[in-house]
Amino acid sequence: MIKPLLLGTDALVFLLVALVVLFAVYARKREHLAAPWRDVVRSRIAVASLVVLAAYTLVGLMDSVHFRKALPMQAGQQEVQYGGDVLSVLDILLGPVRTQVETTYSAPFATHLYAKEYMLDEQGKEVRGYPRLKYGGAQLSDPEVDKWPDIRRRVLLSVLETLGVMLLIYVLFGALLARRWRKPVPVALRDIARGRCAVPWRTALGTLGAVVLLIALIANMSAAWHMLGTDKVGQDVLYQSIKSIRTGLVIGTLTTLIMLPFAVLLGMMAGYFRGWVDDVIQYLYTTLNSIPGVLLIAAAVLMMQVYMANHPEMFETMAERADMRLLFLCMILGITSWTGLCRLLRGETLKLRELDYVQAGSAFGVSGFRIMMRHLLPNLMHLVMITVVLDFSGLVLAEAVLSYVGVGVDPTTMSWGNMINRARLEMAREPIVWWSLLSAFVFMFTLVLSANLFSDVVRDAFDPRLRTER
């Protein structure tokens, strides 16, 4: 028995997905929106980063379907009780990565703990040494001999599986494209392989191959090894890194979703109506902007902490509480980040409203609201789009810094920021514990780099002459 649980951020995430789908349907028919996107997917860099981003998104979405498991029925119990643990689909899929918890630090692919402990040897005498791990390499009788052959075997298996899967995908894909191109399947396959198609499918499939290989490795290794080691309480670092994906994505996207309506509406109104409306809106964003961002966030988060500490009854589970904090962080980040876009849109609207077609609209007696919706908004869309994509990576990076400062996500929420925060102490240990930091770095860097590369292409496609005005 499970009980689905819709956290606040889950709801918004799915709202966002719905909006993106709606927008895609809308944009398909609008040439001015569709054409730049077609340019985007013709770039090899964009396609490769898009695949990476899609993989991240998929993980994030799977991690956004939450539920609670029923506890075993006690005697005489009428109602089903549900555990306090909130799980997601991703947790189930990751299975052993989540559940196989050691006692403390262990290095990647280690068979023994990283720290010496007192333990009993064969004779039952107490000695000090590195104990074997409960799960990592537990299947091996003699780790020193069998460790590398075992790992090699698993890597080989993963590579073979990947090749198989990719071959299947390649053929299926070729068949699909062949129908669309109205070509025989072998010709389509050859075109893809030689990169002779408008969209660089070869690059897409190549990147997908890398992603599949990674999945295969995780699947084959995780039952027997901690690929990225374990942390202080013995939890698999890989699990933390993957779970952090959702946090990063939520902050990067929901923040924008929250601030977008304000920024667009206010920016447009300020530019179009001018006069006192403009004065008020300008005053508003100058004031908000003048408070240093980190400090405003810090102040707001601190106050929220106080509020939550004083109202513990509001949250049934720890997860809900942590989620509330995440959502609030998105909101407060939204409040501090709408000003840039708002100012940009105001400036652009000031220019647009003097254009002849807006004047022509006024000459027809078209109302102000309609002019904003029909003439201004569509001509501002590219700026909005560029900002959204551009802001994403900045927000993901900001999460890390804020969590480090202590005003980011809840300490119980898994995030790269929290991982780095803990890693700071680990780096000071002798010998140092480097794997937490490294894996946070790799996961975060991959996401941010692909987002940056992608946004570069998007910006060029939508407005080659536009420069970042900030």
Partner: protein, 325 residues
């Protein structure tokens, strides 16, 4: 032009008022002083008396906006709003929740902050502009392309990694500089070099790339074509024509931060153990010392507004179109 500057100064007043109001709302209305006291005291020992005692000790025992116990002017002045918020206008920060004089702390701690932030700012401007100029000079060559790729890679790495990595490499492995700490006076340089270098590297990606687009934008303009048709060499063209025009957008982003340099960098200072305002703020956040956070919010805003003012003035210096109209 004088009138313009005076008007900008006058505009700063309502903005500061707004900032003050926001902080007041955040710190005293969202959560009442009772809530704050309860949190500080911890959940267990909370009694009505202990809350009152804590409030009295820290000066939070006044009504928020209007003191009905007092007569005349003091019914307004004997309030939390007046005591804690209005006083900020004369930079009277009062004392922290731990009882220290915030104003004195700030005066003492801003120098280490400045010792890090100022060199980083100045050298950074020089390095980033030169780097961008270099890319632009070799535009559309492999050097330019790889430079841009480098920028994108650099800006995809969190500042935290630069710091941790830098400390590990330069201090722990190579023993070139102390990992953290600070000494005032001439000895300070040993502690300053590493943070500055790391700060420079972590800013290179974003700044280098933006400056490059500023330069490229200018290079596409008609007056550059005119200069070329005069036979002006490419290097002269870049320095005499392009750089001077591109300074206008560059200044927009740069001048505004000059006053806020005093505030230091939160993470940099906390990692390197620099006793500046950045680490002061971070400690206050960790200790939930709201009086300090409130003061820093106000100080930061005031400095930012000063920065805006300086930006406006710097425009008039750089751009004759504004100076002479």
């Amino acid at each position: 032009m004088i009138a313009y500057i005076v008007r900008r100064i006058l505009y700063a007043i309502p903005v500061l008022l707004g900032v003050n109001l926001i902080t007041f709302l955040l710190f005293f209305v969202v959560n009442s002083p009772d809530d704050v006291a309860r949190m500080h005291l911890g959940a267990k020992r909370v009694t009505a008396e202990s809350i009152e005692k804590w409030k009295a000790e820290h000066g939070y025992d006044l009504p928020l906006l209007y003191n009905s116990d007092k007569q005349g002017i003091s019914s307004v002045t004997q309030t939390i709003f007046f005591d804690k918020s209005v006083r900020l206008f004369v930079f009277d920060f009062g004392s922290s929740d731990a009882g220290r004089n915030i104003g004195a702390d700030i005066g003492q701690r801003m120098w280490p902050s400045l010792a890090i932030a100022l060199p980083q700012f100045l050298i950074g401007l020089l390095v980033y502009v030169s780097f961008a100029m270099l890319l632009v000079f070799f535009r559309a060559t492999y050097l330019d392309v790889s430079g841009v790729v480098l920028c994108v890679v650099l800006m995809s790495i969190s500042a935290l990694f630069y710091i941790i990595g830098g400390q590990y490499l330069f201090s722990k492995q190579m023993h070139l500089f102390p990992i953290s700490g600070y000494e005032p006076g001439i000895q300070a340089w040993r502690f300053v070099v590493l943070p500055v270098v790391i700060g420079l590297i972590s800013g290179l990606g974003a700044s280098g790339r933006i400056y490059r687009t500023f330069f490229l934008e200018e290079i596409g303009k008609d007056y550059v074509r005119t200069a070329r048709s005069k036979g002006v060499p490419e290097v002269t063209l870049l320095f005499r024509h392009v750089l001077r025009n591109a300074m206008i957008p560059i200044l927009t982003g740069v001048v505004v931060v000059i006053p806020t340099l005093f505030m230091g960098s939160l993470i940099m200072e906390s990692f390197f153990g620099i006793p500046g305002l950045g680490s002061y703020t971070i400690d206050a956040i960790h200790n939930q010392d709201f009086a300090i956070v409130r003061s820093m919010v106000f100080l930061g805003s005031a400095l930012y507004i000063l920065g805006l003012l300086l930006t406006d003035i710097s425009y008039t210096l750089v751009d004759p179109r504004i100076r002479l109209s």
